[in-house]
């Protein structure tokens, strides 16, 4: 049995989207998200209706580190937004370990911020994973939602969880290495037998 399946069953029995604070799950934040810059020759991309910030951390438990992700959603519009979050855990080959879990939609008042926690319990095998966090929002029923997708990159080693940068994760994981495709000219497509002197045809002609 894949451990992932057992983990999935374990998580599915618990509430792992934890609301932290405020009335109905959100609080009002008056902090500015200023992006002003006057740097020479630089210019950056504008914002849409909302932005999402992820604050992941590794929290030690008796069974190893758990991943706790604080999701902060900033409604930049003046009206209410109905929002929902989706969480999917994949490994570095793109295989899904935890199918998407979608939170109950909540309403975020205009020009305000909502916060929600998400937890991945300890128990993942060693390796590299990414938690894909999807956020959808709309201002009225029937409207096609605006969505954002962000990733939390994590590495597990003997129960210890680390949070590499996206670039480090790409370099150290298997994400940039595709699986070998068997050589169709070979009678034995098992890459493990690709050793010289193991019965392969030996030729001295210059390859084209």
């Amino acid at each position: 049995m894949r451990f992932g399946a057992a983990l999935s069953r374990r998580l599915s029995s618990s509430i792992f989207a934890v609301t932290l604070s405020g009335v109905a799950g959100y609080f009002i934040d008056t902090s500015s998200d200023a992006q002003a810059t006057t740097t020479v020759t630089t210019a950056h991309s504008p914002k849409g209706s909302f932005d999402v910030r992820l604050s992941p951390s590794a929290q030690p438990t008796a069974d190893g580190d758990e991943l706790r992700v604080k999701v902060t959603l900033n409604n930049r519009t003046s009206g209410e937004l109905d929002t929902a979050l989706g969480f999917t855990l994949l490994d570095d080959t793109g295989e899904v370990w935890l199918p998407e879990t979608i939170t109950t939609p909540g309403r975020v008042p205009g020009k305000s911020i909502a916060v929600q926690d998400f937890i991945v319990p300890p128990g993942l095998p060693d390796g590299h994973y990414r938690l894909e966090v999807s956020t959808g929002s709309r201002s009225k029923p029937g409207e096609h939602p605006e969505t954002h997708v962000q990733n939390v990159y994590l590495a597990i080693s003997s129960g210890a969880l680390s949070l590499p940068s996206p670039g480090d994760w790409l370099v150290k994981s298997r994400a940039m290495i595709d699986q070998n495709v068997p050589n169709p000219n070979r009678p034995n497509a098992n890459p493990a037998s690709d050793e010289e002197g193991s019965g392969d045809t030996q030729q001295t002609e210059t390859g084209r």
């Binding site: 020479v40 020759t41 950056h44 793109g94 409207e143 096609h144 969505t147 997708v149 370099v171 390859g207």
Partner: protein
């Protein structure tokens, strides 16, 4: 496999006439790498590269197919195939934030038979965001930029730094002097607002280098009020990028900030023309107003206000390179916002929409109607 949003979707009720990024090329679909560099390298028994140069180099075509000719001194030949995230003719490369060139190793195989074509590869591979960044960037080149002779000359050796941890969520910046675009990890799913928008800035700069007057609002957005010089440069960048997604006959071009499609009412319409009064929520000094003026000068879809101008994309692009140098106020010069020492902004309505109008207008084909139809985006 694509994970990019901002495509046009008829199933959502969007009008995708003349759309260049249909849903079947967007998120969830296998799409080809166009004109990406393919390298064949010798390897040792562990698959590690031998030598400092590939033994064969080629590029994929527009369908993602490739042929590489290579030679090896003996058989069996032990090689691997790398797909290097650089566009043909060195238009751009995708690198890490530390300057490492990204590539995917496709195969490590022993080729026992000489003088024979060896098919290697599958049509569906790559699960990383790097490939999608490359795809978004190549879309801008293939669908828009390559049609400008001036951009053919100047748009090369551009570096995309991805993922760049210095950028906040959804953020991307362009540094023209370094020919570098830096993008946050999540920008990959929003090509219209990230890689395409930043390539628009890069094109604007490379065509005629200038000193950007900066972002002035505390929360820069598509409809935020900005200084006219800011609104125009942002609107120009978006227009230059937008043609990657919709062409001149599109009746419903949309600017979308979302990891999926925006639907028929999501995002912002580029075709909106409200006359002398700006649409609610889109002030005169916002980037979307400048972008809408430029779109009207480009498209063949005429508004009810008598819009019949339709300049070729290459005409509008190439005109940027004719901007006169200088800082003098009210003189339609490229650094008009700045003082002569380029140390402070003394005319934030300089290098704005009205100055660009001065560049593109001819006696036979003025853009007065288009400018006024979009509540006169401003400048001096």
């Amino acid at each position: 496999m694509s994970n990019q949003g901002n495509f046009c979707s008829t199933s959502l009720g969007m009008d995708c006439t003349n759309a260049r990024f249909p849903a079947n090329q967007g998120a969830g679909n296998a799409v080809p790498f166009k004109r990406i560099r393919v390298e064949v390298w010798r390897t040792d028994t562990n698959g590690n590269v031998l030598g400092t140069q590939p033994i064969g180099t080629s590029y994929t075509n527009l369908t993602g197919a490739y042929t590489v000719s290579w030679s090896y001194s003996s058989t069996p030949a032990r090689v691997r195939v790398d797909f290097v995230y650089c566009h043909q003719d060195n238009r751009f490369c995708v690198q890490s934030e530390t300057g490492l060139q990204w590539y995917n190793t496709m195969h490590s195989n022993v080729i026992p038979i000489a003088n024979q074509d060896v098919p290697l590869g599958s049509w569906t591979w790559s699960n990383s965001n790097i490939g999608n960044v490359y795809d978004g960037a190549s879309r801008v080149w293939e669908e828009a930029f390559r049609y400008s002779g001036q951009l053919q000359s100047v748009f090369n050796a551009v570096t995309i730094r991805y993922p760049d941890s210095s950028q906040g969520p959804g953020d991307a910046i362009t540094t023209g002097a370094n020919k570098t675009v830096s993008m946050a990890d999540d920008c990959v799913s929003m090509p219209m607002n990230c890689i395409a928008h930043e390539f628009g800035h890069m094109a604007s700069y490379l065509l005629k280098p200038f000193k950007f007057c900066g972002i002035y609002s505390s929360s820069f957005a598509v409809t935020s009020s900005e200084k006219y010089c800011t609104a125009f440069e942002e609107g120009l960048a978006q227009f230059l990028a937008q043609v990657s997604f919709y062409w001149f006959q599109a009746p419903a071009p949309r600017y979308c900030i979302s990891a999926s499609a925006c639907g028929p009412s999501g995002g912002w319409s580029l075709e909106t023309s409200s006359g002398s009064t700006c649409p609610a929520g889109s002030p005169r000094d916002s980037m979307i107003t400048s972008a809408r003026y430029l779109w009207d000068a480009y498209d063949t879809v005429n508004d009810s206000y008598g819009d019949s101008l339709n300049w070729d994309y290459f005409y509008l692009v190439n005109k940027i390179s004719t901007w006169a140098s200088g800082t003098a106020n009210n003189q339609h010069v490229v650094d008009e916002p700045w003082n002569s020492a380029l140390t402070s902004v003394d005319d934030d309505a300089g290098r704005a929409a009205s100055d660009y109008q001065f560049l593109i207008d001819t006696a036979a084909a003025p853009s007065t109607t288009q400018y006024q139809n979009n509540c006169s985006p401003g400048g001096d």
